[in-house]
Structure formats: structure tokens, C-alpha cells
């Protein structure tokens, strides 16, 4: 399992018992469902709930960072049929936080969704769970059964006038379903091809009805925000970047895993928590927000703090909080080739620039990596990405373009070396050793 270290833990407070602490009883013993009870008992107004979330400056944890409270406030009041949907289609390479959230503490997400449903007036909700983590899907279904049996879900919840039911829907292997409208299409039993926006889900969502869709971590934070108050939550982080955030640290560190830290924690601190660089090797580059985020060179990254604004200022994105750490043994051309292959494979195929461009990018990078690069290839790659970015229905074309552009921008000499010498700066043996089988330096007890 993923290791845990925290500063000011909220979301991960329930993780300490590992797989033994996820059930309803455990959650209730941690104060779980108290916020739902309080809201229902006090007949708190929907607007007050939304106001509290707005105050917290909680920004969507799925990648786009859109303020959650604001999103909720877009839901039309009058509509009879509304939905809340949770996005647990966690497939952005480097991201593995939502899996652990649902594994160790599914009820915080359930409670967060119920509170959201109350706030926006939804009667029904779905949690869309990445197909590859089927055991987590099964656990979530069990957790739903527990919540239903305890009266937290269903008709007239806890004797109030509020009714809401929640169901789990699993994916089956398509990265694009992490895009919110692709996800909605997928729940509708179709291919997960994103919809043109506007209309946005708040007006035209699941089955064409108003829908609030948030990431798992966003929902999981709601009970804590309601418990401590929006302002206290905001103060954990920094202005405009409220609260704590889970960071999934992977790659060349000694202790890959999830780390919950307040927004604004220095990257250097996070790296230290993750056990530092593997084998004491030198940091070369970091992708700070999942594979779609532009890569940053070591020196730039070491100056960053982990929040939306600092990372954006450095030229990348906090995204989903997936921090992919690469050391000096990494061939940046090969790393890019693998990422480009991923976007080529995962393009949904509807928009021309992405369907055609993602394959073009992959093939050119593949050629360069395999000693068949041409001097004009780097310009060609930049030109192709230029024609892809901002030209498609969803952001997958941009996601495919960002790595290409940032890898070339920051590591151009490596690409030029490949083209000129038909081989890599980093010897294959060094590369292979650097990416070899690896055992975490301290196997955490909670596993």
C-alpha cells in the first residue's frame, strides 16, 4: 500500500488502521456523519452549506482546481431532477490518492456527497470508479450498503425531509472518462467521449439534467470543512488555496506514496517526507501535477511550494497533485515517448486534432528515441502541438501537447543529442539500473 506521512492530517486521519479502519463504525467513531446529522437536525439552509464551502476556498482536487462552492452555486434551484456525481476515475499517470481515500475511508466521500446533494438539491448520485481498481469499487459498494442500512442514504434520511441515494458505477479502462463529461457519457452507457461545453454539467449533466460533479478528494474534504468551518479550513492552506491536499509522490523517491500536507508546503519538504531521492541520486526533473502537467527542471521545482498558484507561476499545473520525480538516470526522450504513447492510446478519437495529432506526436518522438530523428523534428513537434492545443472539445489534446512542449523546452539538448548521435546521453545500462525493480526503503506498517 501507499505510505502515509502528514502535516495537519484531515483526509488521512482515518487511514492509520489501514484496511481495518474503513467501515461505518470506524468512521462514526472518528466523528463521521456528525456533520450530516448536524445539518439535517438544524435544518441548515442549502445556501449556508454552499457559503461554508465557498469560504473554505476548496478548489477541485481532480486537476482543474475550480472552486467547489462556486460550482455548487451554479446548480439551478428549480430543477426537479438533479444529480451529484463523484469522479473517482483516477487514471492520470502518477495519481493514486483517490484509490486510497476510498480504500481506507470511503465514508468521508459518501458523507461529502450526501452533504453536496443536500446543498444542491439532488436526489440521486453516482460515484464513477476507475475500472482497474475493482476491489475498491466493491468496497465502496459495501460502504454504501452500510450507509443505507444506517439510514444515511435512502428515503427521508435520518427522519428529515431529505432523500438521496447513491450508487457506484465502474469504468473499464478509458483514461478519457476522467474528463467530467466523458464520465457522464460513460454513466449513460456510452463511449466516454467528452461533450462540447457549454452547456456545462450544472445545466446539462447526467441524462441531460443539472449535475454537480467533483473529484473524490473534493467530496472527502467536505465533512471536515463543515466540521471545522470554512475559514479554519482555508487557514490551513494559503489564500485562494484552502486546506490540505493529498500528493501522490511516485518515481525516484525512497518512499513513494500519498502525503497530506497543507497547501503551500515547499516541494523540498514534500520530497523529504517521501524519503528523499532514491539511492541519493540527483533530482533531474519533476512533473508536479500528473502526466499532463508540464515537466519542470529540478532547480525550478526546488523553489516551488505545493499550491495551485506557485506551480502555475513556475509554468506548470498542480493538477491532481501527482508528483512524478525523475532522477539523473532518466532519458527524457524515452520518458516523453512513453507519455506520448499513453495519450495516443487514450485519445477518444472524436476531435480531428487529437485523433490525428496524438499519433503524429508519438510517432515522431518514437523515431527520435529510436535513432531516426531529423533536425527539423523538434520544430515539427512544436508546430503539431500548436495546432492541437485549444482546438478540441476537451483538454486531452492539450494534455498530450504539454509534455511534448515542456520536455523539449527544458531538455532540448537531450533531444538534439538523440537526433544527432542516434542514441541517448544517458547510457542504456544507467537508464535500466535507474528504473529497475525497487523496494521502498521503509516498508510502512499500515500495509
Amino acid at each position: 500500500m501507499a505510505l502515509i506521512d502528514t502535516i495537519n492530517p484531515l483526509l488521512t486521519t482515518g487511514w492509520s488502521k489501514g484496511d481495518a479502519g474503513w467501515s461505518l463504525k470506524d468512521y462514526e467513531s472518528r466523528g463521521g456523519y456528525a456533520q450530516l446529522k448536524r445539518i439535517l437536525a438544524s435544518k441548515m439552509s442549502q445556501d449556508d452549506v454552499i457559503a461554508e464551502v465557498k469560504k473554505s476556498a476548496l478548489r477541485g482536487r481532480g486537476g482543474a482546481g475550480f472552486p467547489a462552492g462556486l460550482k455548487w452555486s451554479f446548480m439551478p434551484k428549480a430543477a426537479a431532477e438533479k444529480y451529484v456525481v463523484c469522479n473517482t476515475d483516477e487514471g492520470e499517470p502518477g495519481t493514486f490518492k483517490d484509490r486510497d481515500l476510498l480504500r481506507y475511508d470511503p465514508h468521508s466521500t459518501i458523507e461529502g456527497m450526501i452533504i453536496a446533494a443536500y446543498a444542491v438539491g439532488a436526489k440521486r448520485g453516482y460515484n464513477y470508479i476507475h475500472g482497474e481498481i475493482f476491489d475498491i469499487y466493491q468496497r465502496f459498494e459495501e460502504a454504501l450498503d452500510q450507509a443505507r442500512a444506517a439510514g444515511y442514504l435512502g428515503e427521508r434520511i435520518l427522519g428529515s425531509d431529505f432523500s438521496f441515494d447513491l450508487f457506484a458505477h465502474h469504468g473499464w479502462g478509458a483514461y478519457i472518462c476522467g474528463e467530467e463529461t466523458g464520465l457522464l457519457e460513460s454513466i449513460e452507457g456510452k463511449k466516454g467521449q467528452p461533450r462540447y461545453k457549454p452547456p456545462f454539467p450544472a445545466n446539462f449533466g447526467l441524462y441531460g439534467k443539472p449535475t454537480t460533479i467533483n473529484n473524490t478528494e473534493t467530496f472527502a474534504a467536505i465533512p471536515f470543512i463543515m466540521g471545522m468551518g470554512g475559514e479554519a479550513y482555508l487557514n490551513l492552506g494559503k489564500p485562494n488555496n484552502g486546506g490540505t491536499k493529498l500528493f501522490s509522490v511516485s518515481g525516484h523517491v525512497n518512499r513513494p506514496g500519498n502525503y497530506e500536507v497543507p497547501m503551500g508546503t515547499p516541494f523540498a519538504k514534500l520530497l523529504e517526507m517521501a524519503g528523499g531521492m532514491r539511492g541519493g541520486r540527483k533530482l533531474k526533473a519533476v512533473i508536479p501535477g500528473g502526466s499532463s502537467a508540464p515537466v519542470l527542471p529540478a532547480d525550478v521545482m526546488m523553489e516551488c511550494t505545493m499550491d495551485y498558484d506557485s506551480i502555475a507561476k513556475a509554468g506548470s499545473m498542480l493538477g491532481s497533485g501527482a508528483v512524478i520525480v525523475m532522477d539523473e538516470t532518466v532519458c527524457m526522450v524515452k520518458a516523453l515517448e512513453r507519455l506520448s504513447y499513453f495519450y495516443f492510446e487514450e485519445s477518444c478519437g472524436q476531435c480531428t486534432p487529437c485523433r490525428e495529432g496524438s499519433g503524429w506526436l508519438y510517432r515522431v518522438v518514437h523515431r527520435i528515441e529510436h535513432g531516426q530523428g531529423r533536425p527539423e523534428d523538434l520544430d515539427l513537434l512544436n508546430r503539431v502541438t500548436d495546432n492541437m492545443m485549444g482546438k478540441t472539445i476537451c483538454a486531452l489534446a492539450d494534455a498530450a501537447a504539454f509534455p511534448v512542449r515542456s520536455f523539449i523546452k527544458h531538455f532540448k539538448s537531450e533531444f538534439e543529442y538523440h537526433i544527432e548521435h542516434k542514441k541517448c546521453l544517458v547510457s542504456p545500462e544507467v537508464q535500466r539500473a535507474g528504473s529497475g525493480f525497487f523496494r521502498a526503503s521503509s516498508a510502512a506498517g499500515a500495509a
Binding site: 501507499a2 450508487f167 469504468g171
Partner: protein, 167 residues
Amino acid sequence: MNKQNDMLSPELSPEALRKIDREVAKYPADQKQSAVMAALVIAQDEKGWLPKETIAAVASYLGMPPIAAYEVASFYNMYDLHPVGKYKLTVCTNLPCALSGGVHAADYVKEKLGIDFNETTPDGKFTLKEGECMGACGDAPVMLVNNKRMCSFMLPEAIDKLLAECN
């Protein structure tokens, strides 16, 4: 899991239909199609893979055009449109996993089984697939067995143990 590669009739067993009904019940009454992803998984579990007749049977059960079900079956990459071995092993080789031995794990399995990606051992026991991000990068190398069982930290000993368990 009942994995049989012989051509069974396209009809699904009463048990599979009961499972599908349970999925259908999650959605509004006029949205049966929402259950197609789960229904195809249930059908795949029963048949071992998804012959076109089975896809058509699922489509008919849910009242949707067969091509709409085929679109779904061909879009999501864990549906098997061709027969696979009794154990389908999917190794993640995406970048975060690759940085921590993902490719090595795949190479190790290839060598042990004598097959490459997208191949099946002559005895029909194993099929090897290259996977994309499974959302478990912290556990690299990771591997899926028959889509539903995630295996973490797949170092050589763990792979040996897994292969030995499969029979």
C-alpha cells in the same frame, strides 16, 4: 471466476442476468443502457471474453442497438473482443511505474512465460497485456490479474508466487 474459452451459447445464465438486473436497478427506469458497462463485464466474466453474439445478447437485454454496445465494448480496453488465456495479466508500463521497475516486471513475465505482449501461452493459460495507468503508481510495479485483481509491488519473487498460484 468462470473462464471458459469454448464457444458457449450467446445466452447469459440466469445468475448473470440476476447480476445485470442488480446493476440496472441503480439507474432511472428509462436508462437501462447505463448498465451496459457492468453487464458486459458480467458477460465477459461468464464467457471468458466477448463474442459478438454475447455483445448482441447484452444489447438486446438492455434494449439498445447492438452497435451501441459494440462501441462500448471496443472503447474501454479491459473488454476482450478476442479469446484470452485463463489468466490475463496486465502490466502497467506507464512512466511512473516504469521509473520503479514496471518495464522490468513486464520483461520478467515475458521471459518466464515465453510470450510477448498481446500473446497467449500455447496452453491457453496466460495472456499478457501492456496496461495503462491503473491509478496505483505508488505500488509500482503493478499488475492486474483478470481485470479485477490488482497486484502491487510485483518484484520477481512476487511474480513467481503469482504465476505459481495460477493454475
